[in-house]
């Protein structure tokens, strides 16, 4: 990136200063597209913005097709897109995907639910109480540093190889990012507003609902989305290591069978599912943001 280019022309600045998404974060955001319009370059003769997101995937797909068609790569290393698609359709047809996905999603839902709730509570505890942070903080960080992989040998002895193992490992995976995000979000609440709340002597409940939570929201949702991501990672790990069904298992199986098309189908499913999950969380985030505004707006 040309970080050192001298002065900005308006077009460049347009990019740098494109408006932030938070509803309360500043004047331009208010008008929806206004800020963008203000700084939007003329942009004639360039790829329309609407198509930009598809440019890169399109190019990748095209070169993938080209490389495989030309036979540069052996099929067991890079199967042609058509084969991946065929495998995908075949699996879709025989219910392989639906079954595996359902199993995986159920595990994620449980793990995410448990991990996020406990993680938030624990993070808040560490944030609010210095004493808790002093006693439990280091233990938590050590705990966080042991990946799902490390827990499997111990947990498998206690819990066996059934669902309980997977749920516990997934919960732990969601718990950790949630604690970190909660803690950091708590610490980043502006001191100015904290003082304002102090002098108003807000009750713990009001303080939580009106200051702590709203101020933490962006980072909290960052943490939530990270948790969902971590849940997926651990799901794959645990399904790869100790499972007989699920998308992760399907992918390891693809590797065992030396059929990269199955692996790729698995990756695509994991990717798309993750994307949808993330989109869902974003939507909830916006919804909560809006509702928070509404509620207080109609109040009083």
């Amino acid at each position: 990136m040309p970080l050192d280019s001298k002065a900005l022309d308006t077009k460049d600045r347009a990019g740098i200063l494109h408006p932030p998404p938070l509803p309360w974060n500043g004047r331009e955001a208010e008008r929806g597209d206004g800020g963008r319009r203000l700084f939007r370059p003329a942009g004639a003769g360039r790829l329309p913005d609407r198509l930009l997101p598809f440019a890169l995937p399109g190019a990748l797909l095209a070169s993938w097709q080209a490389v495989t068609a030309a036979g540069f790569m052996p099929e067991q290393v890079l199967p042609p897109p058509s084969l991946v698609l065929r495998t995908f359709i075949a699996f879709l047809g025989d219910g392989e995907i639906a079954n595996n996905l359902l199993v995986s999603l159920r595990r994620i839902a449980c793990g995410l639910g448990i991990g996020v709730v406990t993680g938030f509570a624990f993070g808040l505890l560490l944030g609010v109480s210095r004493r808790a942070e002093a006693y439990l903080g280091p233990l938590f960080r050590a705990f966080a540093a042991v990946p799902a992989l490390g827990w499997i040998p111990v947990l498998i002895l206690i819990l066996g190889i059934d669902e309980a193992l997977k749920i516990v490992i997934l919960s732990k995976a969601c718990f950790v990012p949630m604690v970190i995000a909660t803690l950091d979000a708590y610490r980043n609440i502006p001191a100015r507003l904290r003082e304002a709340a102090d002098v108003m002597r807000l009750s713990p409940r009001t303080r939580l609902l009106k200051l702590t939570l709203p101020a933490m929201m962006p980072m909290l949702f960052g943490g939530l989305r990270l948790s969902a991501g971590q849940a997926f990672v651990s799901l794959i790990v645990v399904e790869m290591l100790a499972a007989t069904e699920g998308i992760g298992y399907m992918m390891v199986w693809g590797r065992t069978l030396f059929q990269i098309d199955i692996v790729m189908v698995g990756m695509a499913i994991v990717g798309v599912t993750g994307f949808l999950l993330d989109a869902l969380l974003r939507r909830i985030e916006r919804g909560i943001g809006a509702r928070m505004g509404e509620r207080t707006g109609s109040h009083g």
């Binding site: 309360w24 500043g26 002098v199 108003m200 101020a215 009083g300």
Partner: protein
């Protein structure tokens, strides 16, 4: 003034307070040996150059800072930890919560009061109207002008009807008309609610018009240079000769 025997302890007592700050490696006294006593239902203004420690003094009273030396007493009780009850502050910057509307922000200050929901709504409405923001009750802080945000912050401080009101240049960003109106409203509230007010201002006229006593501070280190009794009967007239004379002598004290 309040008869002394009814509440023997002063509303606020500041005794030999000292507060130092460090910028880089340089340590200096923002406040040094400051003592001041406010009787109940008294209005005291603080005048002084920028950086002489006015806001710091208010923050100390509000319990947001701890003094390096000396002590502060509200109603004879030392504020043990953190902000005292029944004491509100208008900060120099408005500090509205960006995610709450004007009424949401004002409502917040009633959190520690036990009010019936209907009364609470009514109170919020009344104080928002008082500062002239009636039609902006459901606006978010970013949708307000500078003066409007300041007024919202004033409403937030007044709504809980505190016994001790700390105000840091509350009318600074307001036009003279509005300023005069709000000064009147403040005096009304003061008469009605028997509230003690400690007010920082840069406007000498405002200080004279509102207060029983005016404290003049000086910087480096922040100290009290003089405490001037206003002693004019209320309502005061800005064109009175006594008013103008006092204004002149205060301006001299300040330079």
């Amino acid at each position: 003034m309040t008869p002394v025997q009814s509440s023997p302890a002063p509303s606020l007592a500041i005794e030999n307070v000292r507060k130092t700050f460090t910028v880089e490696t340089r340590t200096f006294a923002a406040l040094d040996d400051v003592s001041l006593t406010l009787r109940h239902n008294e209005i005291v203004s603080i005048l002084g150059p920028s950086g002489c420690g006015k806001s710091t003094l208010l923050r100390l009273v509000a319990g947001l800072e701890t003094p390096d030396a000396g002590a502060l007493f509200i109603n004879g009780r030392r504020p043990v930890a953190g902000p005292a009850r029944d004491c509100a502050i208008v900060f120099q910057d408005h500090r509205l919560f960006p995610w709450l509307t004007v009424s949401g922000n004002v409502d917040l200050a009633l959190d520690s009061c036990r009010l019936a929901p209907a009364e609470r709504r009514e109170r919020v409405r009344r104080y928002i109207a008082l500062v002239g923001l009636g039609s902006f009750a459901s606006a978010y802080p970013r949708q307000l002008s500078g003066g409007m945000a300041q007024r919202a912050a004033i409403a937030r401080a007044l709504v809980a009807e505190p016994a001790l009101l700390l105000m840091d240049e509350p009318f600074g960003a307001l036009d003279s008309l509005l300023r005069t109106r709000l000064q009147g409203e403040l005096l009304d509230i003061w008469e009605r609610n028997r509230v003690t007010i400690l007010l920082v201002t840069h406007d000498v006229e405002e200080a004279i018009y509102l207060s029983d006593r005016v404290v003049v501070m000086q910087p480096n280190p922040g100290r009290i240079r003089a405490v001037v009794d206003v002693g004019l009967p209320r309502p005061r007239q800005r064109e009175e000769t006594a008013f103008i004379a006092l204004r002149k002598s205060l301006l001299e004290l300040l330079s």
